[in-house]
Symmetry: C2
Subunit: 212 residues, 2 copies
DNA sequence: CGGGCCATCAACCGATCGGCTGATACCCCT
DNA sequence: AGGGGTATCAGCCGATCGGTTGATGGCCCG
């Protein structure tokens, strides 16, 4: 297993990142970078043509994005394992990617050795997740929606006002509570919706029918 | 016209505001406050029972909100003129309120005399708008949706990333532009969507089908 | 009765945002 | 040629946000 050379395809819209990755893997004879793609569409084409063992895939690319490409590869029953390598670890990125068929999910700040290990693991079909992503996934799976979709009444009031562009201070006045409490509610909302800020919270709330 | 006593109904969920308004109008013999309501539902009931000339209505109340109450009054063909008196002047508040049938729209920071004048004007069926609201409405009417719904491609990319919880700096990296440019795009988006922050922009984008 | 969820509040701090002003440049249309 | 829309960038600044820690009290469930 470990002896065979692992062939790779690098997919990222940032040339710098592509170069960096190519350089890294070039230094280890255990890997062979077959090619690069700058977008999802190109990636699907190259996978067909080059048939790599592992695809290092960025999410969030200009032309449609990585999730669509992963789904397409899965649909076609591609042999290649997809290892997502991205900067962000939001639920709205990770979960769709995993659902679409990604074998692993790493953050770009992962140490070089972790990356090598992860690629080898992915080549063998084993799932690799960044610790942060892993813990998030576990809770997401354990609480498929109970903890996810279940905002309390108060929390719903708050997010509804947020969607209207109301500031925390204004929300406080509106609901007869302190600004501190508003922030507490929002922090809880962020946790439940798997986001980091109010804008994303509003988006997820719409996606789940909590708003709109 | 000006000689007759004008009867009022005060609708606001803040007791303090209700007291303040009641006190103001009590000091002028030209007005007679018939009653108060703390929410939209109660307001509709009281209008039926008390038949005031003018309803001073807050938007954004716990039980459904002022817009719904205004619409209900309009539907029932109530004689009372509704004068919206609120703190916020977002498009998402003003336009629905006017559409629902409000005769006027004042901000709570309006001087006391302006308020009196506005109530008298409303009683006569004349439309009264805060200067800020007026100018906003004009442009909203002149550009029914052309300037409203038409985000440029770049702007759509930006708001889409915002909805995913991406910070301005991250968006800049993502799109290969500077953070300053991202902010410029967002400022334009706020203007076009009639909002003041990213959270509200995401909400409006969903409402208009730009996102989702 | 203890544990968990909810709601409430406080104070601090760094990061981010949004507003403002001003500028360059391209393109399309008149 | 000029105007308008779009895209790009800069710097400054106050306001706001989000994270953190810690705490109180009510409520329900087992």
């Amino acid at each position: 297993m470990t002896d065979r050379t692992i062939t790779l395809l690098i997919v990222d819209d940032h040339p710098v990142v592509r170069d960096g990755l190519r350089g890294m893997f070039a230094s280890d004879p255990g890997f062979d970078v077959l090619g690069e793609a700058a977008g999802g569409v190109e990636a699907v084409e190259l996978v067909q043509r080059l048939d790599p063992d592992v695809v290092l895939m960025d999410l969030r690319m200009p032309d449609g994005g990585g999730v669509r490409a992963i789904a397409e590869l899965t649909r076609r029953g591609a042999r290649a394992k997809v290892l997502v390598l991205t900067t962000y670890d939001t639920d709205s990125d990770t979960i769709p990617a995993i659902e679409a068929g990604a074998t692993g999910y790493l953050l770009k700040d992962a140490p070089r050795d972790d990356l090598f290990t992860a690629v080898r693991a992915a080549a063998e079909g084993r799932t690799v997740l960044s610790p942060a992503v892993a813990s998030r996934l576990v809770s997401a799976v354990r609480n498929p929606s109970p903890a996810a979709g279940a905002l309390s009444a108060r929390e719903r009031e708050v997010i509804e006002l947020v969607a209207r562009g109301t500031s925390n201070r204004e929300i406080a006045r509106e609901l007869f509570i302190s600004e501190a409490t508003v922030k507490t509610h929002l922090t809880h909302v962020y946790g439940k919706l798997g986001v980091k800020d109010r804008a994303a919270a509003v988006a997820v709330a719409y996606e789940r029918g909590i708003l709109g």
